[in-house]
C-alpha cells in the first residue's frame, strides 16, 4: 500500500547516496569472555536483520547494535552501522562519535566514511568541520566516483557556507512547543491553521489511530488527522481524532486548509504515487474526501503531495513531481478554479523564481494573497529542506525567495510550515530535545528586527553654557505587518437566531467584479473572509428566502493586519423588512450614483426579478448636518436615483416607491463621524409581497 508515509519518508529521509555496508564481523579474541562474545554476536545478528530492512528498521537495529557495543566498542563496522542508524533517526548528530571512531579504527572502513562524518557535523551546525570532511572525502575519490558525487558534495559545501551566513544573523523568534494538549509522545506534524488561529488540524501517529494499525515499514502507528481548538483563554484544548470519513484504517495525512477552515486537502497515497483529495465541512460533518474536482488536471500518476488554497479559494497551489513543465524533482504548480466546469483548471509551473532543479515541497499560500511559503532543497538552503518565502510583486512576478533563517531553518529538513493570517505566528513540526516526543508541533512567534535600545548622553558642546543632551539611538527598524483584514463572525436568522448557511459574495466595488464566493457553516453560521488591503470591498450575504445583507469595507493599501468580528442577522422577505444598502455610493453632496454602486444595485435587480410581485420602498437618509430643506431634497433625490437605476434595468415603475427622510430616522448617533456615516444611507423596505 502506498500511503501518505511516502511524503514523510521522502522528506525525513536524508539525502545521501547509499553504499551497502558489509556485515559486522566479530573476532572471539577481542572479547573478555565467551559469554560476552556470544551475547554480542546474538545482538549483532538481531540488529543486522533489522538493518537489512532499510530505513524503517534502523531504530530497532540500533537497540541491538548498542547492546553489542557494550561488550566491545572497538569493532569498526559496528561503529559505522551505529552511526548509520543514528543518522537516520531523530538523534542524528549522535552519529558523529561512532563514525569518527569507525574511521579511527579503520580509515578504509567504507568509501563514504568521511562524507558521513561531514554529514554529522553539517547536521550539528559545525559547518567548518563539515566542509573540512566533505573536502577530504572529495579529494580521496577516484575520478569516476568524483564524477558521480561532485555535484552533491559541492552542494553540501555550499549549504554549509549558507549555514555559516544564516547562523551569523539569527532571526528573532520564540519557538514554543504547543504542549501536551496538541502534541503526544508519538510523531505529530503537518499542522494546518485557520486564518484566525482558532483551529488547528494536524497529523499524528499516536496510539488511538483509527483501526489501531501500524505501518509495517517502521512499525509506527498509522497516520490520522486530529483537530484542536483554541479556547477563550487562548489555550489549545485537547486534540481529538477527526474520525471517519477523514480517517480510515490506513495513513491519513493533512495537506492544506482553506483560510476559513471549511475545506481540507488531504493526502491519499493509495492512488498513483500519491494524490490530493478534498473534504468539505458541511455543517458539523466533514464530507468523504474525493478528488472529483482534481481528477482532470491535478492528480496524476505521479506524486502530488502538498496543496494550499488562495485567500479567495479560487486558486490552488500544489506540489507534484510530474515530469511535464517541471524544473526538477518536485515543483510547485498553480491552478485556477474553473467556475463553469466546477473543477480545478490546467495547472502551470508556479515560477522559475521559486522552483529549482532541486526538490520543492510543503507549499503554503498566506491569506494575504501575496506571500507564499514553501520548502526547498535549492536556493540558499543550509541543508536538506529549508523554508522560504516569496512575495508576489506588483508586476505579477514572484520575488526572490528569502530563507526564513536560523533557528527556524536548521541543517536538517524543515517542512510543513504554515503562517497565521496576522503574520505573527507560524507553525511547524520539529524534533527537539524539549519536545513531548519525536516530532512535535511548535509555534514560531516572529518578533521582527531587533528593537534598538536608546541611550541618553550629554556633552557640554558650548563651553560657556549648560550641557546639551543628545539622544543616541541605534539604527531604526522597520516593523512589517501583514496588510490584511480578517472579517469573521456568524450569519443567523434575525428572529430565531438559528445559524444560516448563507452565500457570501465578495465584490471589488471599483471593478464591479465578484472576487470570491464562500459559504457560512450551516451548523454554526460561522464564516471567515480574508481581505487583502488595497480594495473597496462590497460584501453581500445572501440566503434563500432572505433579504440580502450588505457590508462595505474600504481598506486602503497601507492598512495593517486587523481582525473584525461582524455577526450578521438576515431578515426574511416579509412585509416591513428592510435592509441598508451599504455599497451604494454617491458623489459628495449630490444624488449622482457612482459606478462602485452598480454591483449592489444589480443584486437588488436580481432580488426583484426573483420576487416579481414584491413592491418596495427605497428611502434616502442623511445625517443632521445642514438644513432640513437641503437634506430632504438630497435624501429624496438619492432614493430616486436608485429607483431610476432599477427602472432602467427593467423593474416596473409601479413596484417602486421612493422617499427622502432627511435626518428624521437616524440609526446611529450624529455626534461622531462614524455615526453620521451610518446615518447617511439608502434603505430598501418590503411594502408588499
Amino acid at each position: 500500500m502506498k500511503t501518505a508515509k511516502i511524503i514523510l519518508i521522502n522528506i525525513f529521509l536524508l539525502s545521501s547516496f547509499f553504499i551497502r555496508a558489509q556485515e559486522i564481523e566479530l573476532n572471539k579474541d577481542d572479547f573478555r569472555s565467551k559469554d560476552a562474545y556470544k551475547s554480542a554476536k546474538d545482538a549483532i545478528k538481531e540488529g543486522e536483520s533489522y538493518y537489512e530492512l532499510g530505513i524503517g528498521g534502523y531504530r530497532r537495529a540500533l537497540e541491538y547494535y548498542l547492546q553489542a557495543y557494550k561488550f566491545n566498542n572497538n569493532v569498526p563496522m559496528l561503529n559505522y552501522k551505529i552511526g548509520e542508524c543514528y543518522l537516520n533517526t531523530i538523534s542524528k548528530v549522535k552519529c558523529i562519535d561512532y563514525y569518527t571512531k569507525a574511521y579511527e579504527l579503520d580509515p578504509n572502513i567504507m568509501e563514504d566514511i568521511l562524507y558521513k562524518i561531514g554529514r554529522g557535523y553539517h547536521l550539528k551546525g559545525e559547518f567548518d568541520k563539515a566542509i573540512e570532511h566533505y573536502k577530504k572525502y572529495k579529494n580521496k575519490l577516484s575520478p569516476a566516483a568524483l564524477q558521480d558525487h561532485k555535484k552533491d558534495i559541492e552542494k553540501k559545501i555550499e549549504e554549509c557556507e549558507n549555514g555559516k551566513k544564516l547562523v551569523q544573523k539569527p532571526v528573532r523568534v520564540f519557538i514554543d512547543n504547543l504542549g501536551p494538549n496538541v502534541n503526544s509522545s508519538y510523531r505529530d506534524y503537518s499542522p494546518l491553521i485557520s486564518a484566525d488561529e482558532s483551529m488547528m488540524i494536524f497529523t499524528s501517529r499516536r496510539e488511538n489511530t483509527t483501526g489501531g494499525g501500524r505501518d509495517t515499514r517502521d512499525n509506527l502507528f498509522m497516520e490520522d488527522i486530529y483537530v484542536s481548538y483554541k479556547n477563550n483563554m487562548g489555550k489549545w484544548i485537547p486534540a481529538e481524532n477527526m474520525g471517519k470519513p477523514l480517517n480510515g484504517s490506513g495513513n491519513d495525512a493533512t495537506v492544506g486548509l482553506s483560510p476559513d477552515g471549511q475545506q481540507l486537502f488531504i493526502f491519499n497515497g493509495e492512488s498513483g504515487q500519491g494524490d490530493i483529495l478534498v473534504s468539505e465541512l458541511e455543517g458539523s460533518e466533514w464530507s468523504k474526501p474525493d478528488d472529483d474536482a482534481l481528477k482532470k488536471y491535478i492528480n496524476t500518476e505521479y506524486h502530488e503531495s502538498s496543496a494550499s488554497f488562495s485567500f479567495d479559494g479560487r486558486t490552488m497551489y500544489f506540489v507534484s513531481n510530474k515530469p511535464e513543465d517541471n524544473l526538477g524533482d518536485h515543483d510547485i504548480f498553480v491552478s485556477s478554479w474553473d467556475e463553469e466546469k466546477e473543477r480545478w483548471g490546467e495547472p502551470s509551473n508556479l515560477s522559475n523564481a521559486i522552483n529549482t532543479e532541486y526538490d520543492e515541497r510543503g507549499v503554503f499560500m498566506h491569506p494575504d494573497g501575496r506571500t507564499i511559503y514553501f520548502s526547498s532543497k535549492g536556493h540558499s538552503s543550509m541543508g536538506g529542506f529549508d523554508i522560504f518565502k516569496s512575495e508576489l510583486q506588483d508586476d505579477g512576478n514572484w520575488g526572490e525567495p528569502e530563507n526564513l533563517g536560523w533557528p527556524i531553518n536548521t541543517p536538517d529538513d524543515d517542512v510543513f510550515f504554515v503562517m497565521a493570517a496576522s503574520g505573527k505566528h507560524g507553525y511547524y513540526a520539529s524534533a527537539k530535545e524539549d519536545g513531548e516526543g519525536s516530532y512535535d508541533i511548535y509555534m514560531i512567534t516572529f518578533r521582527g528586527p531587533e528593537k534598538p535600545v536608546i541611550q541618553s548622553n550629554e556633552d557640554k558642546l558650548l563651553a560657556s553654557t549648560e550641557p546639551v543632551s543628545e539622544v543616541v539611538m541605534e539604527e531604526s527598524v522597520e516593523i512589517k505587518t501583514m496588510r490584511l483584514t480578517i472579517l469573521k463572525g456568524t450569519v443567523k436568522d434575525a428572529l430565531s437566531l438559528n445559524p444560516i448557511e448563507a452565500t457570501i459574495e465578495i465584490v471589488d466595488n471599483e471593478k464591479n467584479e465578484v472576487i470570491s464566493v464562500m459559504k457560512s457553516n450551516s451548523s454554526t453560521g460561522k464564516y471567515l473572509i480574508s481581505l487583502p488591503s488595497g480594495k473597496n470591498y462590497g460584501i453581500a450575504v445572501k440566503a434563500e428566502d432572505y433579504l440580502f445583507h450588505s457590508e462595505n469595507f474600504n481598506i486602503p493599501e497601507a492598512t495593517n493586519y486587523q481582525e473584525i468580528t461582524k455577526d450578521i442577522l438576515l431578515n426574511k422577505m416579509a412585509v416591513g423588512s428592510k435592509i441598508v444598502l451599504k455599497n451604494i455610493f454617491f458623489d459628495y453632496a449630490k444624488a449622482t450614483l457612482r459606478s462602485e454602486s452598480f454591483a449592489e444595485l444589480d443584486r437588488l435587480v436580481d432580488l426583484l426579478s426573483k420576487y416579481p410581485s414584491t413592491r418596495i420602498e427605497i428611502s434616502g437618509h442623511t445625517d443632521n448636518r445642514g438644513s432640513l430643506k437641503l437634506n430632504t431634497s438630497l435624501s429624496e433625490n438619492r432614493a430616486k436615483a436608485v429607483v431610476d437605476y432599477l427602472i432602467g434595468k427593467g423593474i416596473a415603475e409601479d413596484r417602486l416607491e421612493y422617499k427622502g427622510y432627511a435626518y428624521f430616522q437616524p440609526i446611529d448617533t450624529n455626534d461622531t463621524p462614524e455615526g453620521r456615516q451610518n446615518n447617511r444611507r439608502v434603505e430598501f423596505k418590503v411594502l408588499s409581497n
Binding site: I454, E458, V471
Partner: protein, 360 residues
Amino acid sequence: MRKYFMIFIMLAVAPLTLLAQTEAETEEDAPVEDSTLVVMEDQEAEMAYNKGIENFQKKNYAEAIAAFTEAIGFDANFAKAFFNRGAVKMELHKYKDAIEDFDKAIELDDSLAAAYYNRGRAKHTINDNAGALADYALAVEKGHKDAKVYYYTGVIRFQDADYQGAVEAFDESIKLDPKFAFAYNDRGSAKRKLEKYDDAVLDYKMALNVDPKFEIAYNNLGSVLRKLEKYDDAIDAYTQAIKLKPDYYMAYNNRGSARCDAKDYEGAVKDFEKALMIKSDYVYAMNNLGTAKMKMKKYDEAIRHFEKAINMDSSYGIAYLNRGISKEELRDFSGACKDWAKAKELGVKIADTYLQECNN
C-alpha cells in the same frame, strides 16, 4: 524635565567690562575716558564713582552699587556710573535692573561700545537671544571688536541652530585671540552639528593644544570620535577628561556608552555605575546601565534599572521605551505594549512603530 546644573563661568571667560577709575582709564573698553576726565570744582560725583570701583574690586557689591548711585545723585548724566552700576548688578544676577542701567548709559552716551556688549551679555543671560545678538552687533559697530563679542555671537547662533553662522563668528573670535580655547571648542561643536566630524576633531584638539587641562574639550572629542565609530579613541579621550576631573560623571556616562559601542558591556556597566556613584540621581546613567544589562541579556536587571530611572523622572519616555523592549524579551507582551504606549505619550516617536506590533 530634569534640571541641568549650570556652570556659571562667564567671569572666567569674559569678565564683565567695568569701566576703570577715572584717573586710570586707558582700556579700549572705555572710550569715554577723555570726556569723563573733566575736572570739576566739585568732584563729589567722581569721588563716589571711584569709591564704587574700589568696592567692586573688593567684591563689596552692595556698597559699590550705593557708591555708583551716589555718583549718579551728584551727576544725573554720569553715563559711566550707570554703566558700572549695571555691571555690578550683573554680578548680583539682577539682569533686568542691569539692562535698565545700560539703557540709561547708552541714552546718555551712545558711543559707549562696552555698554552694548554688557547689555548684550545681560540679555543673553535672560535668554533674550535676539536682543543680545543685536547688541553684540552694535558693540562691534561702535568699535568693541574683541574676541569675546564674536565668541558670544557664535554661541547665540549655535543656540539658534545657525551652525554655519556660528562657525563664522568663532572664526572671527579666534582671529582676534588665537589662544581662545573656548572658541575652538565651540567651533568644534558647531562643526559637529554640521556633521563635519573630522573638522570637529581638529578643533577640539586645537582647544586642547591651547589648554591641555580643558576637560570639556576631551569629553567632546570623545563624543565626536564615537560618531566617527572610533570607539577606542573615544574611550581614551573620555579617560583623559576623567583624569582631569575625577568627578566628571558626564564623561563616565559617555565612556560607558562608547564601551557599549565597542561591545565591552562589563566595562560599560562599571562606568555607568561610577557615574551613578558620583551623581546618584543621574537618570541618563541609570537608563544607560539598563541598556548595557539588556545587551548582556540580563533583562530582569535591566528592567529594575529602567524602573529606577522612571522613579527619578517619570517624564523620561526613553526609559519606558527601553523597559518595554526588555519586557518583550521576557515575553511580557502586554507589559511591553503598555510601556511603549507610555513612551509614545511622552514623545518618543519610535514607540509608535513598535506599537504596530501590539495590534496583532
